[in-house]
Amino acid sequence: MLTSGPVKVSFFETVRYLPPRALPLEWPVPSGAYDPEAGARAYRGMLERLEVVEALGFDWVSVSEHHYSPRILSPSPIVSAAFIAAHLKRITVALLGPIVPHSNPVRVAEELAMLDTMAQGRLVVGLLRGTANEAMTYDLNPQEARERTDEGMELILRAWTEPRPFGWQGRHFQYRTVSIWPRPLQQPHPPTYALGTSRESCEFAARHRLGCGVSYGPFEVMAKATRHYREQCARHGWTPGPEQIIYRANMLLAETDEQAQATLARQANQAPFTMRPGVRDAVASLDARNIAGEARAAVVTGALPTTFVGSPDTVVEQVRRCRDVVGAGVLDLSLHTPGASDLEPLMRSLELFGTKVLPRIRDL
């Protein structure tokens, strides 16, 4: 067993957009197919859902950054997080974006400091490189994405903590004067994670005493990354606590195992962001990814795995195993129901999770 004690639970809010008409499956999805009323319903629904999430006792609500697609309607996670923080009173908002390599790191540092202060310190931050398709959002060269992420993350940390104006002579970013106001309410900065399974991300997190976040993969595979992270932390002379490892995952919860498995079987093997083959292959050839140093495919070509499936009893045991194998003290959960045409199944899953699972995984 790698850890013990309470498991924190985060609800991954993906802003469910229900299109009035079937949409093309490829990324980018044509902007002209967007329905403004459906978008307004999606954001209203998000708030209604999150009020339930807060009442059920979730610790965090998380948001992420994706572009040019209705799948996760949050191209600016800072806007999403600010909107959520303004409407909810207790829950911590986990901003598990922003995509660092195509952002202005100083601006990100400023906005996160504002948000932390406005939300009275209810902010958690995850910094990441982004999925392969996002390189094309703002014309980022995929080959530079890793270096820009590392440099941008370091600049954000410096912007939060340097006491006096400073210049930044980087490889990809250059500023002669940085001196942000406000600084974060949480000092020296909000709890911050370097998100991703790569060797570089784990080592960055360890060097800067940040948390680590992994996502979607099977427990044993994600454990390679979290093991590497802990080894690197030891090399830098410290030991991360359980709360410093986040595991984001899909969960399919039902009253019985049979119901859950039957629902999962209906899931189409659809990649989250389907690019045209020529683009997909070209991006994949330029965008090197790894899990703790072992090469992995840069582009996801099928549905993301669902690693928690079953009845409340089954899922509780899966959570226990996840904590033991991955070492994660925070679960960031996307509760999904493949094939559903409305949000009722999601709300039932939420209720089921809040009443039958959450109380039992607090102290596994």
């Binding site: 400073f166 930044w168 250059q174």
Partner: protein
Amino acid sequence: MTSETRPAVTRFQEGHVETAGVVVRYLEAGQGLPLLHVTSAGTLAATAAHERLAAAFRVVVVETPAGAGALAALADQLGLEAFDLMASGDAVSVALELALTTPARVRAIVLEGPLAIGRRLQARLGEIAPPTLVLLGTEHDAATATARACQAAIRNGHLVLLYDAGVSPAAARPAAFVEVVTDFLERHEAFVISRARTVILP
């Protein structure tokens, strides 16, 4: 890691002067305004950064002499009436002493990874008049406190963090080092105004 294009190699000439019975060795190359670089003891060598700087300055590299007096004597004997002054690591103290004793001759100062500034000198940093650039490698934790102290105390002090560099930013990333040093020595505090062009397709 991005590779850096190397300029043509500049040949540095070695020389020495004697002052108060002490031999002070130096290396010299380039034309233009004089730039006197004081390095830590035992590190007298022409580096890639020196070669780049010599394209714009008359660069004189000198090992830490016994004191500011010897440094002033070297400047006298080389005919350096006024000059820019750069110092690295534990050589910054003698350079700052020189700036305090002969402020009119020092146009601007660059401190690279400053270390080991004594209390007496720290107390006088507020008297340093020339515009001063403090360069700190983001991996150089040992110099962080001194670098911050210099920037805070020197009236016209500026701090620039050189990403992915340690004890010697000039050695780790010579092109990046020279770009900011050259810009600062040319424009002093106005170097904070960007001249980068962003037009892609005019």
